[in-house]
């Protein structure tokens, strides 16, 4: 059985792909773990060195392959490990976010957050938040490649 693309099938759980920069947000995720905070297992993290590494095509690929929501998390502006990577990311991903919304994606589907290595609580909150918002929104069928179906 495959997960319904258009309708919220019973027992449907969203898939959230989180791209986290190695130095702040991934570490913030580690701290959430060390602090034994919880957030939904729908969120799966891919480590990137910096939010500046984020090519928007990675986000579109995730939607094609079945992600229901995508979040990019990086160091707070001014705190980038590479000094300016997140400044570049902020402009790129702002433009890109507006574009995907213009194409018809709900604003909740793609988000960017600044989470520092000391913000384990924020990491857990944000991951919980996006999961809940996506759950309320339902599955994403937009751009979804029907050949790439999740196996039951």
């Amino acid at each position: 059985m495959s997960v319904g693309v258009k309708e919220k099938a019973a027992g449907w759980e969203p898939l959230i792909v989180a791209f986290c920069c190695n130095w702040c947000s991934y570490a913030g995720g580690d701290l959430a773990g060390t602090s034994r905070l919880t957030y939904p297992s729908n969120v799966k993290v891919i480590r990137v060195p910096c939010s500046g590494r984020m090519n928007p095509m990675f986000v579109l690929r995730a939607f094609q392959r079945g992600a229901d929501g995508v979040i990019v998390a990086g160091c707070h502006p001014g705190d980038c490990h590479y000094s300016t990577g997140n400044y570049s990311a902020r402009r790129r991903l702002s433009a890109f976010k507006r574009l995907v919304e213009f194409a018809g994606f709900e604003p909740e589907r793609f988000e960017v957050r600044w989470i520092s290595s000391s913000e384990g609580d924020k990491f857990a909150e944000e991951m919980t938040g996006i999961t809940e918002r996506i759950k309320a929104l339902g599955p994403n069928g937009k751009m979804r490649d029907a050949r790439w179906q999740k196996k039951a």
Partner: protein, 324 residues
């Protein structure tokens, strides 16, 4: 054909002729008539005989600057006729390090806007045989008679919405300037789309993009598409799937538009070249509009010295995320 444009063509031929025949340039990029009277195609003039074919009329819509990419490989110095959009395209290529300024001679042609054959036909209401122009009006001749329309009514869409009809960069200006056009509402259709719900917008784009043949004509004519190997053709990694899938169409068009963020000069060539009439400029203009709103006014191609917005930042930049 209007007398005025014939005179102008004569003047252009004379000036560029001196440079081409005098050896200052090895090639001139201009326009000549194509198979039909309503088409003017690129002219690659190397000698006097070629030059005789040079045309300047209301169908010289094709943006010539992009041809420099190939022609500069063959010729030491190339002259090119540039309308407003060709000149901005030249600046785009210059900023992308694709052309050497000192190897190009730009002949500026302030542009009255080019005519749209489709619209002319519509207005004519019958088989259109020819047109003539005078003082802002166009006379349409059909088998059954004649009809006059305002020139503005039959302009190409991209020309009706053009803000910079005058070349922003040139070595020699050959005609008198038209002046910057004020009050052009080029973001109207973007704003209308913004009013829709996400699902309505998606349905709109799904419909429009479903026609895409992936012929990539939009890319071929685009002055910001100067990659040696476009992402759509790469196998490793394969960014762009080959299958005819709605998602793959979105992939191509969203990425194509995104690659133009802060770089698209809004010449509208993509939309003009599209054989299935996808409103590509709406995607481009969404980005122009938002990037200007977020990071300050910037018009790509107008000033080759200004930093493209994605290549710079300010520490206190705003963001489009729900959190600052």
């Amino acid at each position: 054909m209007a007398e005025k444009s014939l005179k102008e063509a004569e003047k252009i031929r004379e000036i560029v002729g001196q440079d081409l025949l005098g050896g200052r340039i090895g090639l001139l990029l201009g326009w000549e008539k194509g198979h039909y009277w309503w088409q003017s195609r690129p002219l690659f003039a190397k000698n006097e005989a070629d030059l005789e074919k040079l045309t300047w009329d209301s169908f010289c819509v094709i943006n010539l600057s992009r041809y420099l990419l190939e022609e500069l490989k063959e010729h030491g110095k190339v002259g090119v006729l540039v309308k407003g959009c060709d000149a901005r395209a030249f600046n785009r290529l210059l900023q992308d390090n694709m052309v050497a300024r000192d190897r190009v001679v730009l002949y500026g042609l302030p542009c009255p806007g080019m005519l749209d054959y489709g619209r002319l036909n519509e207005e004519a209401g019958g088989a259109l045989i020819s047109i003539s122009e005078s003082n802002g009006s166009v006379t349409l001749k059909t088998g059954t008679g004649e009809k006059s329309v305002e020139r503005d009514q039959v302009l190409m869409k991209k020309c009706a919405e053009c803000v910079y009809p005058d070349p922003v960069v040139y070595d020699q200006l050959l005609l008198s300037p038209q002046g910057k056009k004020e009050g052009v509402e080029r973001f109207k259709s973007v704003e209308d789309l913004e009013e829709l719900t996400p699902d309505e917008r998606f349905a709109y784009w799904e419909g429009e993009l479903s026609r895409c043949l992936r012929c990539y004509a939009c890319r071929q004519v685009c002055p910001f598409c100067s990659c040696r190997e476009c992402f759509v053709e790469q196998d490793n990694p394969r960014w762009q799937g080959r299958a005819y899938q709605p998602g793959e169409n979105f992939m191509f068009h969203l990425v194509r538009a995104y690659h133009g963020t802060g770089r698209c000069i809004d010449c509208g060539e993509c939309e003009r070249a599209c054989p299935v009439d996808i409103p590509l400029q709406e995607l481009n203009r969404k980005l122009i509009k938002d990037i200007n709103q977020l990071y300050g006014d910037y018009e790509a191609g107008v000033d080759a010295e200004a930093d493209p917005p994605l290549l710079t930042y300010r520490p206190d930049d705003p963001a489009a995320f729900s959190e600052k």
